[in-house]
């Protein structure tokens, strides 16, 4: 069930990501990967990172596996971090999302630079922007997902009350 949820989230993230303008400073797949890792642990983060990254790579013109490798490592690390520390509060989550985005960018850009395949003229600004955006979206998204079951329950309850009246 959890796996299905993660797959569904990844699919949604990919659909939205591919619908966004190319210059949008956000990586929704990464957000899903980190959120899955925070919620379910390093293994889920790893699987989500691998799948999401590979699909992203496949849909882009880059080297297949670059994004996958970066997201796999980040997902695993985020999950491991979440098992060691309590990251349920907003600020820690923000920090985790931001740190995960930075680490992902470092890995991704580092690999490309290392292999001499691409150059990144001003990585700091773009990474910082993406870190903030991912953190905000991640925290909000996680809150929404967490609140979703309660909302559904309350709506059902309200509907039931109306029917009784």
């Amino acid at each position: 069930m959890r796996t299905l949820g993660v797959l569904a989230a990844l699919a949604v993230a990919l659909i939205i990501q591919t619908s966004l303008p190319a210059a949008a400073p956000v990586d929704l797949v990464l957000v899903v990967v980190v959120a899955s890792a925070l919620a379910s642990g390093p293994l889920t983060g790893l699987v989500a990172g691998t799948l999401g990254g590979l699909i992203q790579d496949a849909l882009s013109t880059g080297i297949l596996g670059m994004g996958g490798l970066a997201k796999t490592v980040v997902g695993f690390a985020a999950g491991r971090f979440a098992t060691q520390f309590i990251v349920t509060a907003t600020i820690p989550r923000l920090l985790v999302f931001a740190a995960a985005t930075t680490a992902h960018a470092a890995l991704f850009m580092g690999l490309y630079s290392l292999l001499g395949l691409r150059s990144f003229p001003d990585p700091v600004t773009s990474v910082a922007t993406q870190a903030v955006a991912n953190a905000v979206i991640g925290v909000v998204g996680v809150r929404m997902v967490d609140a979703f079951p309660g909302m559904v329950e309350r709506r059902r309850a309200n509907r039931g009350m109306r029917v009784k009246r």
Partner: protein, 277 residues
């Protein structure tokens, strides 16, 4: 169960995932030489494997060549050993021939030195019984030999002919327990009789206790027995003991090693005939 075990080891899964990605990336990324990293790594690995296999093959071949060389060397060694064996035998034969020639040379010199008429003879056999110390020589009556003729060697007296036949003669050695010869000490001219004791040694009897005899004295034939010519060496005094009676007990070491006797001279003229006018 295995899946649960693997889930307990997320690090392992991470390693596998990273390896998978690296392999995937390697398949696409090209090196400066234009080939993919994957190809370069695979080729490098295969090349290393080939290098290892080639090294192993080379080692095996070297080992095999070494084995073949060893076999060849072994065969060669056996051939050389055979040749060495043959050469040793040849050398031994040459040595025997040389020794024989040397013995004959000595015999010839001895014969030339000896004023008496002599004839050379070859020892063709030894005694048939250990109780009797005899040898057989290859000359007999057809060569002018007769009984009681003295047989000598360059080193000294050998014995006398006891049984001549047409082409061979039996020689009683002086060391036989039934043999005897008139003798004297060369230095002091003390006389006595030398007899064989049967074990290869000699004893000089009838030497007065007052006689001047010491160990190391040369004992020669005195010629009074009518068999052996005077002056031929019999042996060396080995030990002089004080006897019970009037005589010394003198042990004499024979001058002639009868066990190595090969050629001898037979004195053709008996002393008795020589002594006759």
């Amino acid at each position: 169960m295995a899946l649960a075990d693997i889930r307990q080891r997320p690090g392992l899964i991470l390693g596998a995932a990273i390896a998978l990605h690296v392999a995937l990336i390697s398949l696409q990324v090209t090196t400066q030489s234009g080939v993919t990293v994957f190809h370069a790594v695979v080729f490098g690995s295969v090349a290393e494997a080939q290098r290892g296999a080639s090294g192993a093959t080379g080692s095996l071949r070297s080992l095999w060549d070494g084995y073949l060389d060893l076999r060849r060397v072994r065969a060669e060694n056996e051939t050389l050993r055979g040749e060495i064996g043959g050469l040793r035998i040849q050398l031994q034969q040459e040595r025997v021939t040389a020794e024989r020639a040397e013995a004959l040379r000595r015999l010839l010199e001895f014969r030339e030195r000896t004023p008496l008429p002599t004839t050379g003879a070859e020892v063709i056999g030894s005694g048939a019984s250990p109780e009797f110390r005899t040898v057989t020589i290859d000359k007999g009556t057809s060569h002018g030999l007769a009984a009681n003729l003295a047989v000598v060697a360059p080193a000294g007296v050998v014995g006398r002919i006891t049984l001549p036949s047409a082409r061979a003669s039996l020689v009683q050695l002086l060391v036989d327990r039934n043999a005897a010869a008139g003798a004297l000490i060369e230095r002091s001219r003390v006389q006595g009789i030398v007899v064989g004791v049967g074990d290869g040694g000699l004893r000089m009897d009838f030497v007065a206790a007052t006689g001047d005899v010491v160990a190391g004295d040369i004992v020669v034939t005195s010629g009074i027995d009518g068999l052996y010519p005077k002056g031929f060496t019999i042996g060396t005094v080995e030990r002089v003991e004080r006897g019970d009676g009037l005589y010394h007990v003198i042990t004499v070491r024979p001058a002639v090693d009868v066990s190595r006797l090969e050629e001898v001279l037979v004195v053709l003229t008996p002393p008795a005939a020589e002594a006759q006018p």
